[in-house]
């Protein structure tokens, strides 16, 4: 067991981190928001926390806290501008945000190291911290979903107009959820930066945002275990297919496509689907 952990602890760390990030998107999918802002918000958290630990001599915990606060403020600002956009327009606006942040990071050499990135970041993030954070995030998401807020989230997802006609302030409700998801992305960014000892602006682009939001879709956007399942699959599958970069793309793409086509409610629904098939 210890050997297994030693051999794969990089992959385990990444699974934990990606799962945490996936819960940020999971919350947003719960109110029908398909956001691609994760990359940009992560970048804000990552670069701020690196700057604080490496250049200002802060300890890791306050730096992480600052990263979460900064990213949630950024999400608050972004959200108050773009949340009134519907559907694909919202998705595109969040994508534009991520790309703008990435390009600023690419050019702001004194803080981000430009295209070359920052080397020699102290490895402060530990596996137990990631695991603890994941447990905490899952508990919080679970608590939110089983409270009145979760009830209202499901109502907004089902029919936003009806909820706002009933007198609820849907706009501020969505903004609050977007801000919370921003905090999760910022925390994730800070942790990611202190996990790899190296970051570059390319780590926080379009693909990062997409992989994060695909995780809950793949795992199951309406199942509390969905994000963990999806993020784990999306992290482990490419690692397991290391032997060939080309086959990896093809197989990961095929797996994703099959899941989208045949498992409408994600991999988490697989047991139910199979049980139903066999019992009939």
């Amino acid at each position: 067991m210890i050997d297994l952990f030693e051999a794969y602890h990089n992959v385990i760390d990444l699974c934990l981190l990606n799962s945490v990030l996936a819960y940020g998107c999971f919350l947003l999918l719960g109110v029908n928001l398909f956001s691609l802002a994760t990359g940009g918000l992560m970048a804000i958290g990552a670069y701020l926390s690196i700057w604080l630990t490496m250049q200002q001599g802060w300890a890791f915990a306050p730096a992480l806290l600052a990263a979460a606060v900064a990213a949630s403020l950024a999400a608050l600002g972004l959200g108050s501008l773009v949340l009134r956009l519907r559907g694909d327009y919202f998705t595109m606006a969040t994508l534009a945000f991520t790309e703008v942040v990435r390009i600023i990071a690419l050019n702001w050499n004194s803080v981000t190291g430009g295209a070359l990135g920052i080397f020699g970041i102290p490895k402060l993030a530990e596996t137990w911290q990631l695991a603890l954070l994941l447990v905490l995030v899952i508990y919080l998401v679970w608590a939110v979903r089983s409270s009145g807020i979760g009830e209202r989230m499901r109502a907004v997802a089902a029919d936003e107009l009806a909820v706002s006609t009933a007198g609820y302030d849907v706009a501020h409700f969505k903004l609050a959820i977007f801000t919370v998801s921003g905090a999760i992305a910022g925390l994730g960014g800070g942790l990611a930066a202190h996990l790899n000892m190296f970051v570059a602006p390319g780590d926080f682009g379009f693909l990062r945002s997409f992989d994060t939001v695909i995780a809950p879709v793949l795992g199951g956007a309406w199942n509390i275990a969905g994000p963990v399942i999806g993020a784990t699959l999306l992290t482990v599958l490419p690692e397991a297919l290391r032997f060939s970069a080309q086959m990896r793309e093809i197989l990961v793409g095929s797996a994703l496509l099959v899941a989208v086509l045949f498992l409408p409610t994600g991999v988490a629904s697989l047991p139910t689907v199979l049980r139903r098939k066999w019992s009939i």
């Binding site: 999918l29 398909f34 501008l81 773009v82 956009l85 519907r86 559907g87 694909d88 327009y89 998705t91 595109m92 606006a93 994508l95 534009a96 945000f97 790309e99 703008v100 390009i103 600023i104 690419l106 050019n107 379009f206 997409f210 939001v213 695909i214 879709v217 793949l218 956007a221 970069a245 080309q246 086959m247 990896r248 793309e249 093809i250 197989l251 990961v252 793409g253 095929s254 994703l256 496509l257 989208v260 086509l261 409408p264």
Partner: protein, 293 residues
């Protein structure tokens, strides 16, 4: 100098426009974002290159072959991703995820078949001449690219305006249930739309690889983002908007390289997107899709 930069911007913008029009057509008719379009563009570039290299056919035939091959890939994305999802009444983000998964498969296949190196057209296939005009040196290639791009746009406009297929496509874009009521074979029209859209992407792929002398499996990623940018500038699903938006983005990018250097070139496009979405979400040339934003 100024004229030269203008032509640089125009040829870049013309390629953006052709790509974005294909993108916009599918959005306007089916109301879906087909994120495999970038990979289709890349495949068009490779097919054109292989036709020139191995069959030694002239460029116009290469563009035609690339267009047909890419069009078939467009049809594939409808058959494999969008039609099953629509039948199921799946959530709209499923189409984005599914088409992006298809793009990954197409990129992986291209790596497997063509290798990961950047390749270029053989020199003898190119129109290498330059034209001197008012002291500016214009590459003949750029002029050809602009010409081909405009021919494609005009051909599409004529198809949409005057042919039966074009009328059917416009009816489906207006409302699918109305189209069914008047007896239009909606499924076939959708397939044709995806074919046209893919063909435009493939043609744009060949033009791009000629202009920039590079073909690689990953060339579709950046054009996909450009296509999204142009579509927002012009308004989602607005074809005239995509044409003007594409030319505008090309010119703005070249102008920004001259003004502030190449580092922020892409930021200007996306900055414009944010600005437009916040102030005029239906694009610069808003017409009827006000209700969608």
């Amino acid at each position: 100098m100024l004229l030269q930069q203008f032509v640089n911007g125009l040829s870049l913008g013309a390629v953006y426009a052709v790509f974005a029009i294909g993108f916009s057509l599918v959005f306007g008719v089916m109301n879906v974002l087909n994120l495999s379009q970038g990979a289709v563009f890349m495949w068009g570039a490779y097919v054109g290159l292989e036709v020139v290299r191995n069959l030694a056919l002239p460029l116009p035939l290469a563009i035609l072959a690339a267009g047909i091959a890419a069009g078939l890939l467009g049809v594939l994305s409808e058959l494999l991703v969008f039609r099953p999802l629509q039948r199921r009444g799946a959530n709209r983000w499923m189409g984005m995820v599914g088409s992006l998964a298809l793009a990954r498969i197409l990129i992986g296949l291209a790596q497997e078949i063509f290798g990961t190196q950047v390749v270029r057209y053989p020199d003898n296939a190119l129109a290498g001449a330059a034209i001197d005009l008012f002291g500016a040196r214009l590459q003949l290639l750029q002029v050809v690219a602009i010409g081909v791009a405009f021919t494609m746009v005009v051909a599409l406009a004529a198809l949409l305006r005057f042919s039966n297929l074009g009328r059917a496509i416009r009816t489906v874009a207006f409302s699918e249930s109305v189209a069914r009521l008047v007896g239009i074979p909606v499924d076939r029209v959708r397939l044709a739309t995806f074919f046209v859209s893919g063909a435009l992407a493939g043609g744009a792929g060949v033009l791009w690889s000629l202009l920039f002398q590079s073909v690689s499996p990953f060339m579709g990623d950046s054009i996909l983002l450009k296509g999204l940018t142009v579509m927002i500038l012009g308004g989602l699903g607005n074809i005239v908007g995509a044409l003007v938006g594409g030319l505008l983005l090309g010119l703005v990018e070249v102008a920004s390289i001259v003004a502030v250097g190449s580092g922020y070139r892409d930021a200007i496009g996306f900055g414009l997107v944010l600005l437009i979405l916040v102030t005029r979400p239906t694009g610069l040339f808003a017409t009827r899709e006000t209700k969608r934003a």
